[in-house]
Structure formats: C-alpha cells, structure tokens
Amino acid sequence: MIGTAIIERPVVLVVEDEPLLRLFATDMIEDAGFAVIDVGSASAAIAVLERRPDIRIVFTDIDMPGGIDGIKLAACVRDRWPPIKIIITSEKPWPTGVTLPTDAIFFSKPYRQDRVISTIQQMAA
C-alpha cells in the first residue's frame, strides 16, 4: 500500500483584529485538533470564505476596524454560506435588540476555553 491516509481536520476561520488574542484563539483551537485559518478583519474573512469552501466554522470578534464588524460578518456568513456555524465573541455584552443568527453562539470575553472548545466540537460533529 502506498501513501498515507489524510485525516481531514475540520477548518475553523478565526477573525480577530488584536494579534495577541488572535494567536491565543488560534492555538486554543489548533490544540483541540482543528485546522485554523486566521485573519485580522471581516473583509479578509470574506475573501477567505470565497475561495475556501472547506471552512466549517467561523470564530469572530465583534469590534473590528474597517467598517464591517463581527455582527455584520455573521449576518453575511449566514446569508451566503448557510451551512457554516458561527461563534461570536466580544468584551461587550451582546447588544440588546439584535437577534443572534441561527446556528450562532455568543461568548463574552474573556471566555472559558473548555466551553468554547466543546462548542466547536459539537458544531463540527
């Protein structure tokens, strides 16, 4: 038998403008056995989503520069890529009067790593 079995690790897109927090989230998710692509803005995230159909989960911050925040990004993902699951995080509470998109979960920062990871695992299952 020639070749090795390629284990397809589910791909998570991490969107976070603060480099340290982006690194932290990337390590946390990779350590849990996922592949991670990380970007620093919502527009970069959309560019990645357009060429990478294998992304299963988007993990995004809310407050980001550049006009598109995490809430708008989540709405856009829900609209254009309905199968993708979404995790939204923020230092601020979830804004009142705004409904969370379907198949999306909100975590207040700082978040408990074990809870975020078990959510990602459920979403990927």
Partner: protein
Amino acid sequence: MADDKDARRAEALARLLVLDTPEEQAFDDIVFIASQTCDAPIALISLLDSDRQWFKARIGLDVSETPIHQSVCRLDIDDPGVLEVADLTADMRTNDNPLVTGDRAFRYYAGAPLTLRSGEIVGRLCVIDTEARPGGLSDTQKTLLNALARQASDHLELRRIARGSERLAELQTALVQIGESIRNSHDVQAMTRAASAIVGAVLQVSRAGFGSVDEDVRHIDVEPDWTAPGTASIAGRHRFEDYGAIRDHLVRGEPLVIENVLTDPRTIDNPGAMTAIGVHALVNMPVRQHGRTVAVLIVNAAARRIWQPEELTFLRSVADRLEAGVSRVRAEQQQEMLNGEIAHRLKNMLSMVQAIASQTLRDVPDRRPVESFEQRLMALSAAHDVLLQKSWTDADLRVVAEAVVEAVGFSDRVHMDGPEVALGSRAALSFSLVMHELMTNACKYGALCQTGGHVEVNWAVETTQAGDELVVRWRETGGPPVIAPSRRGFGSKLVRLGLAGTGGVDLRFEPDGLQADLRASVRQLAQT
C-alpha cells in the same frame, strides 16, 4: 389712541378672570338693587371686552352678551361720571342701534362706570327703561347707582384675588407633581412628556413641549410633546425665523409671550406660520446656561389668550426644573457610557492577560494550576459584569453569587437563600473570588465532586454591638468524608481573605462537609 385704551381695558378685564363665568349671587343682588332703586325694568353689569360686551349679571334682558358696536355702555366710557341718555331714539349715537330700533325697544339709559383700583374702567353698571325719561334719575338715584357700581368693582377685584390664590395653589400642586415625575424619570423623552402633560392639563392649553436649542439659537429640536385631542404634535426640528421675529427674545433669554399672533408685532407679518400649526397664543420660556439659551419650554393655545403673571412664574419654574432634570439624565447617560467603555477595556485587558498566561504557561506539564488561574480570572470577570449592570456602584450579593456559580457550573446543586444585600465594588470583587474558591474546592474535593452532594448558601444581616454585620453561611452535605488540608494553598488563602478582604472567616472541616461562616460589617461592604 382709542384702540390702545380699548386694548388695555380688554387686558385688565381678562386679568379679572371673570369673563364667561357663571352667575354669582353678589352681582345678581347688585343689579336687583339698581333696578329697584332706579325703578327700571332692565339692569346690567356690562363688561367691555374687545369685540363684545358681556353681562356678569342681568335683570330684564334675555341675552348674555351683544356685539361691542351695539353697546351703549361703551359711549364716553373713559368719562368717570354717570352716562345718562334720556331718549335713545333722539341721540345720534344710539338712534340706529338694533337694541333701540328692534323689539327690545330700549329708550332710556343710565350707567355708572366700573372703575378698578388701577384706574382702568372695564364696564358699567347700568339701568335701562323701555320708555324715555325726560327727567332722568334723581341726584339720590345717581349717587346710589355710583355707590353700587363701586361695590361691583370692588367685588370683581376681591373675587379675582380669591381666584388667584386658588389658582396659585393649583399651579403649586402641578409644580410638585412635575418635580416628582422629573425625579423619577431616567430618560429625556419620558421626562419632558410627563412634565408637558401636567403643564398642558393645568393651563388648559392645546400643546406643551420642551426642546433644546442649537448653539446660535436658530433651531429648536422639540422632544415628543403633549397635545390636546385634535392638536398635532410639533416634535422635531424647527427654525425660529420661520415663525416671525421671535428669535431675539430667546437669544436675550427673555420669555416670549404672545397673546394673539394675529395682532402681535412679532408675528403680524406672517401669522399663517403660527396658525398653520394651530397656534393663536403662546409662551416660549427660555432656559439659560452659562449666559446662553439652551432650551425652551413651549406652551401653545388654540385661541388668543391673556397669560396671567402667576402662569408665567409657574412656567419659569417648570422650565428651570426640566432643564436641571434633562442635564441630570444626560450626565447619567454619559456616565453609563463611560462605565461601559471602562468595563469593555477592562475585560479586554483580562482577555489579554488570559492570552499571555496561556502562551507563557503553554509548556507547563501540570495543567491544573493553569486552569485554576484561568478560572479565577473568569470569576473576576463575572463580578465585573455584575457591577457593570449597576453602573459600577453596587451589586446584589445574590447576583454576584449566581454569576460565579453559573461560571463554574452546578447551579442546580447550589441552593441560595437570603435578603437583598448591596455590595460595593470592592466587596463584590473579593466576594466573587471567595465564592469561586469555595465552588471549585467543592467541585474537586467536596460536595459537588460526587452525585447527590449539594451546597446551601444562606446569608443574613445580624445586629451586633459593633453594628450591622453580614453573615454568609456555606454548608456542604452529601460529599465524600472531609479531611482538613495539610497545607494552605493560594485558594485557601483567598477564602480566608473573606467578604471584604479583611478576614472574618471561620472554616470548619466537619465530617459531613465543609462549613464556612463569612462575616463583615455592612458598612465596610458598602464601600465602593
């Protein structure tokens, strides 16, 4: 000249607050005595308004008012003596008067002036006969008619004073109500709407509202206003210049008081702008801050109206109170926003600490201390969330405890009971850390590490010699047998810091489960 005098007369009359009021015995008695004294079938107390004469009391006449041009009383009205016309059909001024030529057939007239203390003549007490009287009244009759007219004038003024103090009491009550509603409001719209509704009702106007004025006093942004049924709202932005020459007053900070937009020099050029929004009379009461007009209290009436001095004083007070209330709410909102911003930065900092710690401790083989660290950070963050909800002033003990329990888990096995207790920000933070250590300890070694175990958390305020003291009792049951730890770790040191970071902790390792009593003075706990 005559117009001026007539206008002043109408104004003095309006201030008497007597027009269109019901009959009153005192005035009815006066006309009865006049009619008897002068042996005349008709006697009237006639008050001269700008476009009509209105009768406060009458005998022998079936109408309560007539157009002003049919009035005999108005002839020579500024002459202080008794006006007597022996034969109305023979006098050029009255021979074509419908009251003379028509069915009522007035023939003889005598009237004494109703003179106020200010000197203003507002009407006449008159007697009328349907037959001419060449001889006229006797001197005694004239003297009596004059005396009765003085009685009537005096009574008009006394009546006004009595009504005025009733009115003052009404306005005072309204002011108290407005003060209360301002104190209880925490948003600008609700506050101005509540105050406007009270103003509108007590003044019986068609519209009342409050608006803030821009820097150069050109525009006003009217908050949602109060309107009488059938009157449209004027909430929104308006330009003062569109409504006449009203801006200068407001720039100077003087109240703009208009009794009739059709005749007032400031609105006469284009009264349509006012009447289009249903305004015939108005008061704009400016509010000043640092020498500048910052807001205006608006009151509109759908008909012309003489504004009474006590009404203007009332509106001045309302405007000042509203401005103070609006400033307070804006400051509160700003503070809230600032607190939100601080909390957001603080939580961002906690996230960074978490990230740095996670990176720094990445290669530490024993993960337990790393996890403890992260969880303590979470407990602190949860306490910050609770404090933020109350604008960083105080937090309810139960809410803080619930936030910690929720962060750790097991909320179904932790039962809490106790009264509302406000914790200051320091106590909220240290209590959340203590609570977190007790929870994680119970999860690892205590009641929550095996099924069936649970925790009771009870608290009460107890009065001691040193003052009121909060006691929090932590009771674990149903866990594995308890052994006192051989050494004190950081977690145990945290717990021993107690409710306010100053101790007061009694830990007992009972065989049934851990028991902890935490005590601190209520005064200490309230510190922010």
